[in-house]
């Protein structure tokens, strides 16, 4: 089993930058363009890693530590998340909370690094990032708690290996669907995808994620972009793990099924981005509260 877990981590490390590529190609195809190469994210990472870093004189060690700390937190989170109905590399009771707060730690280091630049522009981005993630967090946590209660365990690996089999047609189906929908919204919000934030815009007063990383350069920026790809993978595998029933499949087909699910989710994200406009900032909290209510409803149904 440990071999499967290691392979899953390696696959995630290797394939995560492909997800933004798939999203971009989907958007390009729907807009009638050819679009960037699928491997563009890898090229960007390679280019950035070979560059020098430029630090502003107003920044301190907080700014320098930010990208590495964020990436480290996401890498640990990757070891906790089960993929394709197999147990994760690290599994222990309570890793569910650790997962949510590792994401929080990554965000914290990113936000403090942005604030450290002293730029009012980045301060605005930091404020928005924190506001929206504070609203997305209850949706994620309540959903996880509902699933934990249904599965009778507080370890992500247990939850996902026990619940995916209770597939969607049998009892517990509505609960899982609600949680999956909430996780879908969290996936879009946390990854700064379109109804919440437009990843294509630069230097606009409404953007969130891009503004946080404006002052980073070279390998630091590469770390942040790789971290963003890993985050797509992490939150995506939470939603895919619920929706794709892989119970009882041998490791290799299960793995292929999981990968297919991840890339399908990326295609769906691309379709959403092509067909929807970004929400007005004042409407964003409403959607996130809606997602929280979905999770709450799932939890209440489990408790009732």
């Amino acid at each position: 089993m440990i071999v499967v877990a290691v392979v899953h981590v390696l696959l995630a490390l290797l394939l995560a930058p492909l997800l933004p590529g798939v999203i971009n190609r989907t958007k390009a195809a729907l807009a009638g363009r050819r679009g960037q190469p699928l491997l563009q994210a890898y090229f960007d990472l390679g280019k950035l890693l070979r560059k020098d870093v430029v630090y502003s004189t107003t920044t301190t060690w907080v700014f320098r530590a930010g990208p590495s700390a964020a990436l480290a937190a996401l890498l640990v989170a990757l070891a906790i998340v089960p993929f394709a109905n197999a147990r994760a590399l690290l599994a222990f009771p309570g890793d569910l909370l650790l997962f949510a707060y590792l994401l929080g730690l990554a965000r914290f280091s990113l936000v403090t690094a942005a604030l450290d630049t002293g730029s009012s522009f980045e301060g605005m981005g930091a404020s928005r990032e924190v506001t929206f993630s504070a609203l997305a967090e209850p949706a994620l946590l309540l959903g996880l708690v509902a699933m934990a209660r249904e599965a009778g365990s507080v370890s992500l690996s247990d939850v996902y290996t026990r619940l995916a089999p209770v597939s969607l047609v049998e009892g517990g189906g509505p609960v899982l669907l609600l949680v999956a929908a909430a996780f879908g919204v969290v996936y879009l919000a946390e990854n700064a995808r379109i109804p919440f934030d437009d990843p294509n815009t630069h230097l606009e007063l409404t953007m969130i994620h891009e503004v946080l990383i404006l002052d980073h350069s070279g390998p630091d920026l590469a770390f942040l972009q790789y971290g963003a790809a890993l985050k797509l993978w992490l939150l995506g595998s939470l939603a895919v793990g619920i929706l794709i029933p892989l119970h009882g499949a041998p490791p290799v087909p299960a793995m292929l099924g999981g990968l297919a699910g991840m890339f399908l989710l990326a295609v769906v994200t691309g379709v959403i981005e092509s067909t929807m406009a970004r929400l007005r900032l004042v409407r964003v909290p409403q959607l996130l509260v809606g997602a929280t209510l979905l999770s709450l409803l799932a939890l209440l149904m489990v408790l009732a």
Partner: protein, 221 residues
């Protein structure tokens, strides 16, 4: 219980969850048109539940009741209301007294209250689904909340309709015991109410150039 019945029960639960989601959408919707459509959709979903929950053995009574309520709530009411909105020429945005996000949060609270209350009511056990009674209570509460927390006369009609949906859901939980005549009577009442309110909204609008119900309370005779 065999697999077929389990699947049907799962389907009923899914329909009920969609009814709850329709309530949430109603609380968060900012346009009259989408409110009307959501209430209509809720009516159709509720009309489907008895057809599914009875499984293979459908009685004529159940089919007739489902058909009448679906046609009325899914087609006739929304058509009447959309016509009323168009004729009154009012702005399509709602003017909420309680904002959309607080409304949604209130909805969460009401749902918890309804589940707690539904578990404590001394009712005979239902064959359909244990969720049906709490969801019926929740729908009634959301209807009342819509009447209180929105300004337009049309939204008060919608709140009234949501309440009727809730009462219908409550009736579904005891489908075998409830007389057919009572259900039809309620539907007829709702039909008359929507009909009369549709005309009244038009008249109010012609008289005062708006349909804001809270400003009616300041009228002097």
């Amino acid at each position: 219980m065999n697999g077929w019945e389990t699947a049907l029960k799962g389907l009923v639960d899914t329909l009920i969850v969609f009814v709850v989601l329709a309530n949430m959408r109603l609380l968060g919707a900012s346009r009259l048109g989408s409110c009307i459509r959501v209430v209509a959709l809720q009516g159709i979903l509720l009309g489907l539940i008895p057809l599914v929950s009875q499984g293979g053995h459908l009685g004529l009574r159940v089919v007739l009741q489902a058909a009448v309520s679906t046609v009325l709530k899914g087609i006739v009411f929304p058509a009447l209301l959309i016509r009323a909105v168009r004729e009154s020429g009012s702005r399509r945005e709602l003017a909420p007294i309680v904002g959309y996000t607080p409304s949604l949060l209130t909805g969460g609270g009401l749902l918890a209250l309804a589940l707690w209350l539904g578990g404590r009511l001394p009712l005979p056990p239902t064959a359909t689904s244990s969720l049906l009674v709490p969801v019926a209570l929740f729908t009634i509460m959301v209807g009342l909340f819509m009447i209180v927390a929105r300004r337009k006369a049309i939204t008060q009609v919608l709140g009234y309709l949501a309440m009727e949906n809730g009462i219908f859901a409550f009736g579904l939980a005891f489908a075998e015991k409830e007389p057919f005549l009572v259900e039809m009577g309620i539907l007829l009442d709702a039909f008359m109410a929507v009909f009369v309110m549709g005309i009244m909204v038009y008249q109010i609008n012609r008289e005062f150039d708006h349909i804001d119900a809270d400003r009616l309370s300041a009228l002097k005779d």
